[in-house]
Symmetry: C2
Subunit: 376 residues, 2 copies
């Protein structure tokens, strides 16, 4: 019989694991906070924080532990692992995936191209790096940033000083600002024994540093896409990932560079639900349960657009959106409405990428626009 | 905010409503028996029978009531409806859909072609019908039969006598046995106001009177498929269905004849999960919640094969099946294993119908065969 899987977290990624878990008969228990989105749609939810106490209570009830977010007590994850509970991905993999400095050290050593970088805690070091590699620079907190938080682009020393003040002099990762021609993400599913499937790269489009759209196939030359796949497979092996890994890459002409990693199902892979033979959520569960992986093959053009909280609650715009866009899959996460928060996404599929893209963008706009704008 | 939907029943059809309900933010409450498949995967389950007491308790908690099976107390459904709870489909629609004699009366009057038939409770009447229309005949209980139960093919009066003895002389629906060239099902989603979407017909293949395979597209001439769509739309209007309706049809050369109806999501529509833009489960919920319907467009060839209990539990065969058929979607229902019981299904999609069909058949065989056979 299949293992019971403990999932740390109860947000939208947790919810999207549910259909595959039900279909494959994989019992899931979530460690979530009261009010988290998963509680309304799944019976087995353990209330608690992802701290030592919560993780120990979860581990006592399940056969294997995985995560839907990285804000988890890694020391306890390591302790559980040492005590015999499989932790997938491992504490070591999570430590690399959640630390942009460790990532660059480990992956550069494995032959993955990364931009020049340094770790700098004072203005002199930043200035010296800028003199060599040119301004503007990108400053990043090594840990904990997402959706543009913890990332700053600075044009000069004055701007860098303001950032250093803001972070109280904590060391920052410093990189030259790459002139991008695009961004890709490559999803990789990997089992404990090393069996791996690599999805075709998707193109990600950011607006205000938050992912707005994901496109399949990506609008890049075939050689760039092939290079991205190669790098992603290399990364998965180098960090020993188990479960889903999202490898985010910068494209600059023919060059492909590491941007960042997420060792879990990821926003870049939401379109796999409709757009590929096996979704990232199913392959995450298969990998964590150590079951054979499913085909990652594309089912044709697909575009996902995030639904980000605006002036109105998307749930109140549902009927009008379904009426206007009958060929779009709407995914709402059951989260309280708040401007700027990811509340859902829409995915469109079809034969022509631009047609599909227009459909998905219109549906996402309609879900978030005030009624008078949307009906114009 | 969307209505809370009460669903009578907790089997696989109930379970397959869940992903769409979660995605669209539609709260569901099930009336189910302890141990029913839905309880392990959904928090809001009311324990009870589909009798007057159970239905009243359900109605008290929800805004609208629907069904996943027809074994429901129709008098109480009518009483609830009269008292102001929307019942979708209505008690009147369910009364027609669950009675093969009423179906033939109502639909023949609406212009739907049905085979010659009579209702006979004695051997003389059966003999007289056989003399006019020719033997063999098909005898059917007007209500309650499924998967071949309550249906008998008789070659002569002696065989008919045995059946009459078995049913204690209850009146039986009598029809000539049609020489079939195929069977089709057409799924129709219909809203309370009459908005309707009609899916492309699918071909159903029965083995031992139980549905074994469903194929999209059907292997019939285009004119036959078009005729089937027309008839299904006519049927949905004639019985005022709300929610999903499955119209099962006999094909005999160019002729299309009514077989039977199901006013709910149906086994013939399981392939819509992967095979169409909007699944039958999503459109059932949209219709019941009176939301605009989704596109029923086909996404290309798809084949579903039922997983029927054999000597071993399919859950124990999962890992080997996933390894052998990585491009098939496996759906297990979480039901206790019992030979002859529908325990799951598999769906394959792709570009070529016969390739896809082979893949689905192999996966279903592997899930049910003893290990030594499956590995050969």
């Amino acid at each position: 019989m299949p293992p019971t899987i403990g999932v740390v977290g109860g947000g939208q990624l947790a919810r999207m694991l549910l259909p595959s878990a039900a279909r494959l008969g994989l019992p899931l228990v979530f460690l979530a906070r009261p009010g988290d989105a998963v509680g309304a749609v799944w019976p087995a939810v353990l209330s608690g924080e992802p701290d030592a106490d919560g993780l120990r209570r979860l581990a006592a009830r399940v056969d294997v532990v995985t995560v839907e977010h990285e804000l988890v007590d890694l020391d306890t994850m390591q302790t559980l692992q040492d005590a015999g509970t499989p932790v997938r991905p491992s504490a070591a993999t999570l430590a690399i995936a959640t630390d942009k400095v460790r990532q660059r050290e480990v992956l550069a050593a494995a032959g993955v191209p990364v931009a020049p970088w340094t770790l700098a805690g004072d203005l002199d070091a930043i200035g010296a790096f800028g003199d060599v590699h040119g301004w503007p620079l990108v400053l990043k907190r090594p840990r904990g940033g997402y959706d543009g938080r913890g990332v700053w682009v600075v044009d000069d020393l004055d701007a860098a000083r303001t950032v250093l003040d803001e972070v109280d002099g904590d060391p920052l990762l410093v990189e030259p600002k790459v002139t991008l021609t695009g961004e890709l993400a490559v999803l990789v599913a990997r089992r404990p024994g090393g069996e791996t499937v690599v999805y075709d790269p998707v193109e990600t489009v950011q607006v205000d540093a938050m992912c707005r759209e994901v496109l399949q196939p990506p609008r890049v030359p075939a050689a760039v896409a092939a290079r991205a796949r190669e790098l992603a497979a290399l990364v998965a092996d180098a960090i020993g990932s188990v479960g889903m890994l999202s490898v985010e890459l910068f494209v600059s002409g023919e060059q492909v560079l590491l941007n960042e990693l997420a060792a879990r199902p990821h926003n870049a892979g939401h379109l796999t639900i409709e757009g590929t033979v096996t979704s990232q959520f199913e392959n995450h569960l298969r990998a964590v349960a150590d079951l054979p992986l499913g085909s990652p093959a594309s089912r044709g053009p697909a575009v996902m657009v995030n639904v980000v909280g605006g002036p109105v609650d998307p749930q109140q715009r549902l009927a009008e959106t379904l009426a206007a866009e009958p060929a779009v899959a709407v995914h709402l996460y059951g989260k309280d409405h708040r401007p700027g928060r990811k509340l859902g996404h829409v995915t469109a599929t079809g034969d022509d990428l631009e047609t599909v893209r227009g459909r998905a963008l219109r549906a996402a706009d309609r879900l978030t626009a005030p009624a008078e704008e949307a009906s114009s």
